[in-house]
Symmetry: C2
Subunit: 342 residues, 2 copies
């Protein structure tokens, strides 16, 4: 329990939204829902899994006997090439077509591996796959969203390690917020918001989780999820296309470290949703954009007690108990060797 | 499965945010997490419950033997009267004190009652309590957030029927968005956004769930949660203080109907987070504001399968499968008599 029971707010400069921080609330008792710890001891191959090599999927298709990563068109895509006739536009009833496509990326042929359990070489294949898919889809679509939902609690319907890409013409709401904020900041400061942020955090170090030559991981000053992190390019790169070999190797390495540290916090396969924010592909001048990923993990106090973003958060604003600085310290102090390897 | 598998977007004029609608995705299979159905068969009195009449609470206090509603200061309040020394302000590190207080409202002395199981007379007591608390707190604070988290899946840590109030000086992020949108709309149209919306929806009727002389319930055109509803004053009232007796009686009645319809969708105690948006209390001219409540229920396809707002939604924008019009039809067609009364 912090000695001064004062709450405060911090502003996310990428979205303009605030978060309420109540550090004194860390110790309140809990008798509500807990989650089942994610099942362990999965087999390396599962005959019913639609993502395992060689298996049947929906629509009478089946997977090749892939040995590294494998990408396919989502069989239940939220986006298609079809258009609607929007209702007559008015201020209150605005509707538009959403043309796009959705793909699934299997990270590994092995059903029971998660990112921290892949080798750096295997993680480099994931990074290369992201880059290849991004390059291809960004030729067609302005907004290419690469993300991973990990763990049942994050709505992940298949344990086989995989991520997704949803790509479309329009800018998604959150991307548009970040585009406007980064543009406005650049116009004011003649420097990129996230490059200035990287410089300030590198100097301060209190919110740093880990870093290498090309990437920084911090619990951002404005984090809303208990162990939220921001993984950001130190080189001011605007999108996945621009990444060179050294940056990709460094990314594979820091992904392994970050996801390992996550698992070590509660000795569990740490659930999260993560995703990349690239500069919109049709932007002529991308100087204000810096490529970054957000990790939003829900766990709060144990492998089964998560933070609920509910009534106050939905109607008011996000709220957190432990400070970002304490979360960063916890992530920094756990081992960088995975608990299952000990 | 809709015949035209086209996705589209709709814009929420209160927040400026869009939602992606993918009706053709209704039928995708699900092998992910399901929730335990909320426990039934609770006793009317539970000796360990910190909210039951006469029982001990934290900090050596105990509850009176209350017979209707009961309000107390939250023993683990996220807001207090204390202030912090904010960090030196800069564009990237903005921090401010959040002075306020938090209260808990027990809706009934009976441990095992939920809103639809209260009589209209008992619901009127809840409405009167909201009004009394709002009047008192809005004298001190600019932003008074009244809300209810219902069900373990919504982070509700106590089954005893209760809601909360978090009140503070600053405008919460979501309230500020709605304030700016309603103000801008009024400046453009010389009429209130939500009054014009009520007029349009009353005429259209395809998204209406139920209504009476003073209140309308619709699944809004821009709903993000599967069975999200907007409960809005037909009289253009700006806040709880302004409600007269007829409006309060009508509110008690429509609350009973709406929560009953919710429970009847899946024959379960329907979880949700709901809360009221009142005009900021220090506003001089409140003509652009209309009092309303949002209900955000997570269930999607059964009493145990909920919608997960995860990777794409957190990084991109909210996404839904069934259309708002279909959700409204389902809510309209279920019985308005509670399934446990049959
Ligand atoms: O205050 P409670 O019921 O303990 O807590 C619940 O509601 C709060 C307000 O929406 C949330 O911040 C918590 O995450 C949730 O568990
Ligand atoms: O595509 P999946 O894994 O079936 O579905 C999951 O991720 C989607 C994208 O974040 C969400 O819309 C779904 O609610 C979630 O269950």
């Amino acid at each position: 329990m912090s000695s001064n029971p004062a709450a405060f707010r911090r502003r996310n400069p990428l979205t303009g939204e605030w978060v309420l921080v109540s550090p004194h609330r860390n110790n309140r008792p809990w008798s509500g829902a807990t989650e089942e710890p994610s099942k362990v001891e999965l087999p390396a191959y599962e005959s019913n899994c639609p993502l395992c090599p060689g298996n049947a999927r929906a629509n009478d298709t089946s997977n090749p006997n892939y040995e590294s990563t494998f990408v396919f068109k989502n069989d239940f895509a939220a986006l298609t090439e079809h258009e609607i006739e929007p209702v007559d536009a008015s201020d209150l009833f605005q509707e538009q077509s959403a043309v796009g496509e959705a793909r699934v990326i299997c990270f590994s042929p092995e059903h029971n591996k998660t990112l921290p359990q892949l080798t750096e070489q295997e993680l480099l294949s994931v990074v290369n796959t992201w880059q290849r898919e991004y390059s291809e889809l960004s030729e067609i679509y302005n907004c290419v969203q690469i993300f991973e939902n990990k763990g049942e609690v994050m709505g992940c319907s298949q344990p086989h390690p995989h991520g997704q890409i949803w790509a479309h013409q329009h800018l998604a709401t959150e991307v548009e917020k970040e585009e406007l904020s980064q543009k406005a900041y650049f116009d004011d400061h003649s420097s990129a918001l996230l490059s200035d942020y990287v410089a300030a955090e590198t100097k301060d170090a209190s919110r740093t989780v880990c870093e290498n030559d090309h990437w920084l991981v911090v619990v951002p000053f404005w984090a809303k999820w208990p162990f939220e992190t921001l993984l950001v390019s130190k080189d001011g790169i605007a999108d996945f296309i621009a990444l060179n070999q050294a940056q990709k190797l460094a990314l594979a390495s820091i992904l392994k470290e970050l996801t390992t540290r996550y698992d070590n916090v509660f000795n569990t396969s740490f659930p999260y949703s993560m995703g990349w924010h690239n500069a919109p592909s049709t932007l002529e001048d991308k100087s204000h954009w810096v490529l970054h990923a957000h990790f939003y993990p829900p766990l709060l106090r144990s492998a089964t007690i998560k933070k609920h973003m509910v009534g106050y958060e939905m109607l008011g604003e996000s709220q957190r108990d432990l400070t970002p600085e304490l979360a960063a310290k916890i992530l920094r102090e756990v081992s960088s060797t995975h608990y299952l390897e000990n």
